[in-house]
């Protein structure tokens, strides 16, 4: 599997229009491979990023996402392949000649310079005259809500403020692309949520293409317009956040993005308008309202998101309930509640199926008094709609 799978799986809806994203590819990775000695950090990656996107490179640590970003900035040279910015091969350009700027994970704010000198550093290097530098520095500081902080030294600032300085310092140069290396990882939870929405609105305001590296799937889903998931140097899937979550193309993506119940099974029936998968761990067949492009009898995996599983009371000896969009006996399995985790807005239930497999399901706490009052060791039915499971071939 060298190329990324198509961004939209067969049954996914057409992508929504994004008015500020243009059609031209501002960044293009062509067959990029990077080796460090014998280790392959990036393995034949092909990727296009369009102008105006807020793009996220998502993956576990060591997956090659930071290496890819550093190749854009010019700190690493690809072992094979080409990196194009605005259609031009940037291989001959050193970092200081590239039309991209970076916000470092550690912020890398110069500790011996005032905030204004930090922000003006890049302009000074470009030979911008003093008056204009001053004006643009003030503008950039206002943009990141640090107006009036120009005379402070970096050690007089909080971590969040230092990051804003790093942002202003990069944005003041009006780069074609802004690179962000794990921008939120060093902030505390509350500040992180705030910075998420600020980054999004900042990107819309300045209209610059942002590329962010993150290992945090919540962060990528919340901020990015499009994400690329990487695993062991390979590009696994490139898709919008909702497609990534609802239509993952592999077990890795389904498992890495969000929480999932995964069942191995055999493709029993595959028609144009429906398919059936039999999984040994599930007492009932899985009925799908769409066809699957796989050979009959082949091994597939069924991924069920916890929030897409309904839970109903079950009396001993009662006949199985029927889901309205599935045939009798399909998509409904019996189980017993084994664990309850109350999270305030929702509750997580862990249900043990007959074979011993545990399944996770979420229930939103829609009212202040739970009328159904599920409790430990209570027999329940777990049921799901025919459109809910994602069938994965790899």
């Amino acid at each position: 599997m060298t190329d990324a799978a198509p961004a939209t799986p067969s049954n996914a809806p057409a992508p929504k229009a994004q008015p500020h994203v243009k059609d031209n590819a501002i960044i293009r990775f062509e067959n990029i491979t990077k080796r460090f000695g014998k280790v392959v950090a990036v393995d034949n990656v092909n990727l296009e990023i369009r102008e105006g996107e807020f793009f996220a490179l998502l993956g576990p640590s060591g997956c090659g996402k930071t290496t890819l970003l550093r190749m854009l900035a010019g700190f690493e040279t690809p072992s094979e392949g080409r990196v194009l910015i605005d259609g031009k091969d940037v291989a001959p350009l050193p970092p200081n000649k590239r039309p991209v700027n970076m916000v470092f994970q550690s912020y890398a704010v110069f500790p011996h310079m005032k905030v204004a000198d930090n922000v003006g550093y890049g302009l000074k290097m470009d030979g911008v005259d003093g008056g204009e530098t001053k004006r643009r520095v003030e503008e950039a500081l206002d943009l990141v809500k640090l107006g009036g902080f120009g005379d402070r030294m970096p050690d007089q600032l909080s971590g969040g403020q230092r990051q804003r300085v790093a942002l202003a310092r990069a944005l003041v140069k009006r780069p074609r692309v802004l690179l962000l290396d794990e921008p939120l990882s060093a902030l505390d939870a509350k500040l992180r949520d705030q910075m998420r929405s600020e980054l999004t609105s900042l990107q819309e305001k300045v209209g610059i293409t942002f590329i962010m590296v993150t290992h945090d799937q919540d962060e990528a889903l919340a901020i990015a317009t499009r994400c690329a998931v990487m695993n062991r140097g390979l590009l696994t899937q490139v898709a919008t956040p909702s497609d990534l979550y609802e239509f993952p193309n592999s077990r890795f993506v389904a498992d890495f993005v969000g929480s999932v119940n995964m069942f191995e099974g055999v493709l029993d029936k595959d028609e144009q308008d429906h398919a059936i998968v039999r999984a040994p761990e599930l007492a009932a067949p899985v009925y799908l309202d769409h066809g699957v492009t796989g050979a009959k009898g082949s091994t597939v995996w069924v991924a069920l998101r916890p929030e897409k599983i309904e839970m109903h009371k079950r009396a001993e000896g009662q006949a199985a309930m029927k889901m309205e969009d599935a045939p009798e006996g399909a998509n409904v399995v019996p189980g017993i509640i084994r664990d309850i985790v109350y999270l305030g807005s929702e509750t997580i239930f862990e249900v043990e199926l007959d074979g011993g497999r545990r399944v996770k399901t979420f229930r939103s706490n829609l009212t202040r008094y739970d009328q159904e009052d599920f409790t430990w060791d209570e027999p329940v039915w777990l049921a799901w709609h025919a459109c809910s499971p994602a069938v994965l071939l790899s």
Binding site: G74, M102, F110, H112
Partner: protein, 302 residues
């Protein structure tokens, strides 16, 4: 854990007292004796009368000796500057080398310490003297060039005149730089190695070239390391005795050579003591300046 050894006073004393006694007996007491001598007068070949006179200091501040002090400062300063100029790129190269290379390069820097200073100095004499390796190489090049010119039908060069590289101030500075270079490289290396690499990358990313990155980011951030390197090069160079003695000529006397002569040939211990203490006060000033730079660096959070 920290509390427990503070409470175990006997154990603490058992460890701390021997070195303290050692320092007191063999460092502070002799130093105090010399300090007292500096206010004394020679009354016989081996007897010194502690009269509390300032005559030794008055004599030490005469132009003749001030000149030698000044010259020692100039030579030590020049040595330090050359060590800094040579040592900075070396330290930078080591700091950026791969971990395996780094260990080897550091070993190379420290290797001279394993050889006796006297042997190293005589080795340098073998290199610098009139029929030494440098002149030998130059002569070989000279004769070949001369031969080549004859071949081309040009006037051959005259007879080779060996360069006088030994027994002058040049030889002293070369010797001092050679001996003190590791003292400069090691603190510089440790400062550069500690530095956050992303600061340099940020500078490059913002459009600065390598030279400007070094001047505007690396050097200012390495300032505390540079200050300690300068100090621990300057202080021993200022008090250098063996190198000017062996490599220097008649006009290359440094203050330590003068002090040595007072204690030995001139047998004027009180005057030698006064010179020694003036040298030590100079050292204290250098340390104070360094501490000031260090504190300013720390305030900047580096």
């Amino acid at each position: 854990m920290e509390q427990s050894w503070r409470q175990a006073k006997t154990a603490f004393a058992a460890i701390a007292v021997p070195p303290l006694v050692w320092l007191l007996l063999f460092f502070l007491v002799p130093l105090a004796v010399i300090w007292a001598y500096s206010f004394g007068e020679n009354v016989g070949p081996v007897t010194i009368d502690l009269t509390g006179t300032f005559a030794n200091y008055m004599r030490a501040l005469e132009p003749l000796y001030l000149q030698i002090f000044w010259k020692s400062i100039i030579i030590a300063g020049l040595t330090t500057l050359l060590c800094l100029i040579i040592g900075f790129p070396v330290a930078l190269a080591i700091a950026f080398a791969s971990p395996r290379m780094k260990a080897w390069l550091l070993l190379l820097i420290m290797l001279p310490f394993w050889t006796n200073l006297l042997i190293r100095t005589f080795a340098l004499i073998a290199v610098l003297r009139e029929n030494g390796y440098i002149n030998f190489t130059l002569e070989w090049l000279w004769n070949n060039a001369s031969g080549l010119m004859t071949l081309l039908g040009l006037q051959p060069l005259g007879e080779f005149e060996p360069l006088t590289l030994l027994y002058n101030n040049f030889a002293v500075v070369v010797g001092l730089v050679y001996v003190h270079l590791p003292f400069m490289v090691l603190p510089l290396y440790s400062a550069l190695d500690r530095m956050d690499r992303s600061l340099m990358e940020a500078s490059l990313d913002l459009g600065a070239g390598h030279m400007r990155t070094i001047l505007l980011v690396v050097v200012p951030l390495a300032a505390p390391g540079i200050a300690s390197g300068v100090l621990i090069t300057f202080i021993p160079a200022l008090g250098a005795y063996l190198t000017p003695d062996l490599l220097g000529g008649t006009d290359s006397q440094m203050i330590a050579n003068v002090i040595e002569r007072q204690f030995k040939r001139a047998n004027d211990w009180p005057f030698g003591a006064a010179l020694s203490f003036l040298l030590m006060y100079l050292t204290f000033i250098a340390i104070a300046v360094q501490a000031l730079v260090q504190r300013r660096g720390e305030r900047r959070g580096t």
